[in-house]
């Protein structure tokens, strides 16, 4: 019973991260039609920034987080302006360029961090919250879950209640029609990737005290983000969030009760099955091409 409760808590926390990862990817793909293969590296950049500032240079954690967000966002904007925009008509080219960025970012992380083992960031909040007899949750994890949910809430508000948010969704639905309505596609693309990259950077910053920080930590992020995005629906943000928590629960429970590698294999197979049966995902709407 205790394991079951713990696993539920873990699922929620992981789900928060998965959602942050996936939402960024969906925004970029939905609005700009391009797959950002370097998305995992944007998360990694967030984590390294926190390591560099907070663990190595004693910058307070709560200041390091916004810095991480800004740096990830700036990288995203640069990618949009110089790599994705010239290749608007050929999404494959954009994808290939993002792979180039992936390599460059990994090498930068390697140079910044130096050789040697994974970096560790000691958790700034190291109390442990105890609920009832058997449930113990580290404060750091609760903090990251809280911030993740808050950010998703802010994003939801932005997309549904603001004019800019509506413009984003319009472009995602039909780019040509939106352009005809006078929406500035370039500006919207910048905003989409800015927000997407910011979410990735935030996720990385929150993850930093919780796991090993290595130059290739992005690999796991991109695989999970793909699975979640596909299963949830490529054009749908709410689908991505729902799928994030469902997949997190699946993966956590299978890992706790059985084995982690098997969990990932199953996740990938589920994704392939979804692609075969309903490529637009559980809640997806067909994005016009």
């Amino acid at each position: 019973m205790e394991l079951f409760l713990q696993s539920i808590v873990n699922s929620l926390i992981q789900g928060g991260f998965f959602a942050l990862w996936a939402v960024g990817l969906v925004l970029i793909f939905g609005v700009m039609g391009v797959v950002n293969f370097a998305h995992g590296e944007l998360v990694m950049v967030g984590a390294y920034t926190v390591w560099l500032l907070h663990a190595q240079n004693d910058v307070p954690f709560l200041i390091a987080i916004p810095v991480a967000i800004i740096i990830a966002m700036m990288i995203g904007l640069v990618m949009e302006r110089f790599l994705f925009r010239p290749n608007r008509t050929d999404p494959l080219a954009g994808l290939i360029c993002s792979i180039g960025v992936l390599f460059i970012l990994q090498v930068i992380a390697h140079e910044v961090g130096g050789t040697g083992p994974a970096k560790q960031v000691a958790p700034p909040f190291n109390q442990i919250v105890e609920i009832g007899e058997s449930l113990r949750i580290p404060m750091q994890r609760l903090f990251s879950l809280g911030v993740a949910i808050a950010s998703l809430g802010v994003l939801w508000f932005f997309l549904t209640k603001t004019k800019l948010g509506w413009a984003l969704r319009a472009v995602a639905l039909d780019r040509e029609a939106s352009a005809l309505q006078g929406i500035n596609i370039n500006r919207i693309s910048m905003i989409a990737i800015g927000v997407g990259a910011a979410m990735a950077g935030l996720a990385g910053a929150l993850m930093a005290p919780l796991q090993n920080i290595t130059p290739h930590m992005g690999h796991n992020v991109i695989i999970t983000a793909f699975i979640v995005t596909i299963v949830g629906g490529v054009g749908s943000l709410s689908g991505a969030v729902a799928a994030a928590f469902i997949y997190a629960a699946f993966h956590t429970f299978v890992t706790a009760y059985f084995n982690g590698t098997v969990a990932t294999i199953c996740g990938l197979l589920i994704m392939v099955v979804v692609l075969i049966i309903k490529p637009t995902g559980i809640m997806g709407v067909k994005v016009s091409e």
Binding site: L83, V107, M271
Partner: protein, 317 residues
Amino acid sequence: MSIKNLIICIVILAGLVALPHFLAYNFQDLLIFLAVNVLVVVSYRLVTLTGEWSLIHVVMMGVGAYASAMLSKMAGFPFWISMPIAGLTAAGIAALLCFPLFRMTQFYFLIGSFAAGEAIRLVWIYFIDPFGGSSGINNLPPPELGDIDFYEPIPYFYMTLIIVTISLFILYRIEKSRVGLTLNAVHWKAPLAESVGVDTWKYRSLALIVGSFFVGIAGALKVHYLGVVTPHQFGIGVMVFVLIWVIVGGYASFVGPIIGVVVLTVFDQGLRASGIVDPAVQPAVYGAVLIASILFMPEGLEGIGKRFFSKSSGENA
């Protein structure tokens, strides 16, 4: 093939036969890997002729590698038999995957092929028996033929050269044949092809299966020289290199990817030898080359080559 091209090929082959004798010992290995990689990119191009970019190609190489490794080490098959079976195994798995994969197109096919490949790789990692898990399988027996010592790079290179040349020849003939022309039609004008009764699904599958056959053979060639097969030899990182070679070289013609892999491999070795760039930084150089290639050289090196030599078109459909 015109007489001029035939002569060029023969000259190149002769040069390759002589080349290892001029190289330092630890560079002779690289010729073997280069020859294998040429087969990998040319077989990949066949797959891309259908217009779909698959990310499973390198995993298919691994399927062939594991098949040959397991047959030769555990079942005692000689290399000369395990290698073709490796190709057939990769082709077989590809055939099975055609059913699910080709229901997707474009972006979805890309992700789907990536997922299927990664799932296969994780199976190798998870099932220690019989795949050896993360550590893979080692002590693979080399080919045996009379007194030839296939542990030495030069004999192994000649054998690889022969097999790769034959494979390239077959692939070239396929491309020039009716099948190849139909594949091109499927790529550029699928609806039109369908309207004259071409079963696009069948042709896409054919490309994937044949491409996988040859890359499976490449996998066997590679691991029997190394003596060890591990899942990490066939990860997404390696697949990305294949993409880089094909894109930078250009994929409009048969030789484009070959140019790409040769030029980039030489460039890579030159970079290492010069010591200008720390080996840890080299992936970033590749990344930059890739980006520059997409932005400034969309036709790849072969495009530049074409303009430079101002060849008349019509030689390559």
